[in-house]
């Protein structure tokens, strides 16, 4: 078993209004097979026993799908590995003696809660505005009634894979949520089932996104690089297209 030692500079902040700062910890010996969050677990166990409050961080499934975990490691959302959530990042990607600067996702729309935890409820608020197909339970036609080309379904799934972790917003220098919104718009506007509300949805989601304090997209592509699911910025282009169609060609306002 290979062992490494790291210096951890972790952002500590007791609450949204208090002032935060970095605190430095020596990791002690770490097995390279450990995940990043397990490394934090080990640190926290030590902090608890020494009477210090452990580092608060969000996490749940620890298999890269729930979207709950996330922090910025040395300036990179979810750390240095491509297409990887923080929970799936392992210690073998770091070298003995490395210093890791660990910060929360930062954006005006994501208020800090504590230490590395931020409030991403803005994403839920966007979805509530129309990130769905309005069908009540029970009234659905047979599942095979409307054929969907296999490629279209795959494309829709490419977009629907979004786990809502917020790394796109965190990585964007403008704190923009276009990749998140673009993914949802793409998912639903590609499918025949999503057509009836297509225009309304595009207008409503963009309006809400703007109202929640997310920044503007500058086509800088950092979001795509940070996305643990590899969601492409072609989804942002589609959002731009959908919004234009809805704005200038539909009767919706």
């Amino acid at each position: 078993m290979t062992v490494i030692h790291l210096t951890l500079k972790i952002w500590r902040q007791t609450g949204p209004e208090s002032k935060g700062s970095f605190k430095t910890y020596e990791s002690g010996p770490l097995a390279t097979a450990m995940s990043f969050l397990e490394m934090l677990d080990v640190l926290n166990e030590r902090l608890i026993l020494s009477g210090e409050e452990p580092v608060a961080f969000d996490h749940d499934c620890r298999e890269g799908i729930c979207g709950m975990c996330g922090a910025v490691i040395n300036g990179k959302a979810h750390g240095p590995e491509k297409k990887t959530t923080l929970c799936q990042l392992h210690m073998r990607h770091f070298r003995d003696g490395d210093t890791l600067v660990i910060e929360p996702f930062r954006s005006r729309a994501f208020k800090l809660v504590k230490d590395l935890i931020v409030d991403r409820s803005a994403f839920d608020a966007i979805i509530a505005e129309g990130g769905y197909i309005s069908v009540n339970t029970g009234g659905a036609p047979d599942a095979n009634a409307i054929p969907v080309p296999a490629f279209t379904a795959e494309q829709a799934l490419d977009a629907a894979e979004c786990i809502g972790c917020g790394a796109c917003v965190a990585a964007c220098p403008n704190g923009s949520a276009m990749l998140f919104v673009g993914a949802k718009i793409s998912h639903l506007s590609l499918l025949p089932q999503g057509q009836p509300e297509r225009s309304k949805r595009a207008l409503a989601l963009v309006k809400k996104m703007d109202a929640l304090g997310f920044g503007n997209c500058g086509n800088e592509q950092y979001c795509e690089k940070a996305c643990p699911k590899g969601i492409s910025i072609s989804n942002i282009a589609r959002l731009n297209r959908e919004f234009m169609k809805a704005a200038f060609c539909s009767v919706e306002e």
Binding site: G15, S35, E38, K114, A128, V135, A143, A150
Partner: protein, 637 residues
């Protein structure tokens, strides 16, 4: 306590129709007068919240995560079953019903399972209408695959993330009701107690995980969709926050706990690699379609796999089960892996792993074909272990995955506390002693979209619900109990963290109430529990205070409940002296070491009733009556 299953009379195929006709309905204009609390926002909770909101009820939905889109249903990989028979391969509602009952080793109710099979088709329709991007054939129709050794292709899937897509469908339907004002969300809230007034569930006490505030909410019915208790074992494939607290507190308020010893242990997970390990990751069992399971034939053989020549390898599943080979059901595969490791033939650093080898399939079909099929799983495996399964065989070991046991519910999904409904993995109802692959998603959605919305109205129509609010003394009492308990956890100030106790409990359960159980081991574990509990309450260390976000405190509360819960689990395992499904009692096996059911004595549901602190819970039995199918012994030889 009376266990009245309330199964409608009449032929099996007509029961659900008959129920829906005979049940009393609530006038649409009156539905808005009812308040319903839903705890949990996984598949069952989100689908129930959405549908109840659509019907006009006022719903409050609570979840422990920061967003209701994160319930652990999201991690389900394989797919969802339905009896559509789109592939024309002989599937039918009856076949899905039969397979599910048989897969559960004949320990589930016929009526519930038949209803599940009936509803399965509507679920697929509903999900497609919501925009769930299921896999398609080139012609645009839905694709299916065969899963978990089923003889028909009835599993609908969206790559390796079917659970995610279904959950996002249910979540979005619920968010639509949030927008409509029918569902109010309470994320980052943990249910701490159930409030029972006049024998009816009328509210809950929660802890706001951000502010630490203890809050109470009143309603006309409470729905628990809080998932399973697999994390009692510390290491499992469950999410870190999955816990037994909600169902356990309900149990302490009078809801019976059914079949708690039925725990599914999934055979293909990435093995444990260190004491710091926090969870285990599942590798889809579809891998077994093309891989061969083996161990070195000689115990203690520590050579790297490539240096072990063919004759010195033991392909134990193929040898033992010539007709099913590597595709035997989950419980059989798991037990055999343990047996091999117990004989000292395990591989890897810990000796607690077996090989899952793709080399034969790669030679036959080519590396490209295998990568195309399993690329994403290989990628996931490589990410975690740093090894490429094409170059060297995967190492796998069984891990706790799903709990068939849960709160006892009747045909209406109502527990023994009137007004308390339990859905999804949190109830015990449909999977008997073993769940089939791709059936958990089906059950969660059936309960939430279709069953509960139909049954809850009969509760409202038939019970006298007095107007109450949270100033009722029962709420004050429950809030005080919760606050007192939190204060107690904070004031111990001992020397061990909640996780240390949790690990100790997990190991105890894994060793003695895991894949194989026997009376001596179970008795030993049962004897150790009170000491563990005592040490927990004397030597626990929780930092910080209760008036803040405090993850150590959250964990401590959950571990305390797991320790208490473990007792009922072990008692249940002790009392069921037969082997069935996932519950393997070493005393009850055939001459060939296969599980031996005892239908005459144990064809029943075991439901445990709380008798008070430090009292042994009382066992009630609901006999299982099979009128439509012939019980048989499973054989995979």
């Amino acid at each position: 306590m009376q266990l009245d299953h309330r199964i409608p009379s009449g032929p099996l195929t007509e029961k659900w129709d008959r129920f829906r006709f005979e049940t009393k309905l609530i006038n649409p204009a009156n539905k808005r007068k009812f308040e319903i609390i839903v705890v949990g926002a996984g598949l069952a909770g989100a689908s129930a919240s959405a549908t109840l909101g659509e019907l006009g009820y006022n719903v409050k939905t609570f979840c422990i995560q920061d967003s209701p889109r994160r319930g652990h249903s999201i991690a389900a990989q394989g797919g969802i079953n339905a009896a559509k028979n789109y592939q024309n391969d002989g599937d039918s509602v009856w076949r899905l019903f039969y397979d599910t009952i048989k897969g559960g080793d004949f320990r589930a109710r016929e009526a519930n399972v038949y209803r599940l099979a009936q509803i399965s088709n509507q679920i697929i329709d509903q999900c497609v209408a919501q925009g769930v991007p299921f896999a398609r054939e080139y012609g645009g129709l839905l694709a299916n695959r065969s899963f978990g050794g089923a003889q028909v292709s009835r599993t609908f899937y969206a790559r390796g993330q079917t659970g995610q897509q279904l959950l996002l469908g249910a979540y979005s339907a619920m968010m639509r009701q949030v927008k409509a004002g029918k569902v109010t969300l309470h994320p980052r809230s943990e249910m701490m107690d159930l409030v029972v007034i006049n024998g009816q569930a009328r509210g809950i006490v929660t802890r706001n995980l951000i502010t630490g505030a203890i809050e109470s909410y009143a309603a006309d019915a409470v729905v628990l969709a809080t998932g399973g208790y697999g994390n009692a074992y510390y290491l499992s494939t469950n999410a870190m926050a999955s816990n037994v607290t909600a169902t356990w507190r309900a149990y302490k308020r009078g809801a019976a706990f059914a079949n708690p010893c039925f725990v599914q242990i999934h055979p293909t997970c990435i093995p444990v690699h260190g004491t710091y390990q926090s969870k285990l990751t599942l590798m889809s069992e579809s891998l077994r379609n093309d891989a061969r399971v083996w161990v070195p034939a000689r115990p203690g053989d520590k050579r790297p796999p490539a240096e072990i020549p063919e004759p010195e390898r033991d392909y134990y599943l193929e040898k033992k089960y010539p007709s099913f080979g590597n595709l035997v059901p989950r419980d059989v595969a798991s037990r055999n892996a343990k047996e091999q490791c117990d004989q000292g033939k395990g591989v890897g650093d810990t000796g607690l792993a077996v090989y899952l080898d793709f080399s034969e399939a790669i030679n036959r079909l080519g590396e490209a074909a295998i990568r195309r099929k399993y690329g994403n799983l290989f990628h996931m495996y490589e990410k975690i272990t740093g090894q490429d399964p094409v170059k060297e065989p995967m190492t796998i070991y069984p891990a706790v995955h799903y709990t068939m046991g849960g709160l006892w519910v009747d045909y209406h999904l109502m527990s023994t506390v009137p007004g308390l409904f339990v859905l999804g993995e949190a109830n015990f109802s449909d999977h008997g002693a073993n769940r089939l692959g791709a059936s958990a998603l089906m059950q969660g959605l059936a309960d939430g979209y279709f069953v509960l919305p139909a049954t809850i109205s009969s509760h409202f129509a038939e019970s006298a619900l007095l107007p109450i609010n949270t100033s009722h003394p029962a709420f004050t009492e429950a809030m005080d109990t919760t606050k007192g308990r939190i204060q107690r956890l904070l004031s111990i100030n001992g020397t061990r963290t909640p996780d240390e106790f949790h690990r100790e409990l997990g190991l105890l359960l894994w060793d003695h109430c895991g894949m194989a159980r026997n009376e001596a081991g179970l008795t030993l574990a049962l004897g150790r529990l009170p000491k563990l509990k005592k040490r927990f309450w004397q030597d626990l260390k929780v930092t910080g205070n209760g008036a803040d976000l405090n993850q150590t405190l959250e964990r401590a509360g959950r571990v305390a409940d797991f320790i208490e819960f473990a007792e009922v689990m072990i008692l249940d395992a002790l009392s069921r002296q037969e082997s069935c499904g996932c519950h393997f009692r070493e005393e009850s096996q055939t001459g060939e070491h296969e599980a031996k059911r005892m239908d005459d004595t144990y064809s029943h549901v075991s439901a445990w009733e709380y008798q008070g602190e430090a009292q042994t819970p009382k066992l009630h039995k609901e006999p299982l009556v099979f009128e439509n199918i012939q019980l048989s012994q499973r054989s995979y030889k």
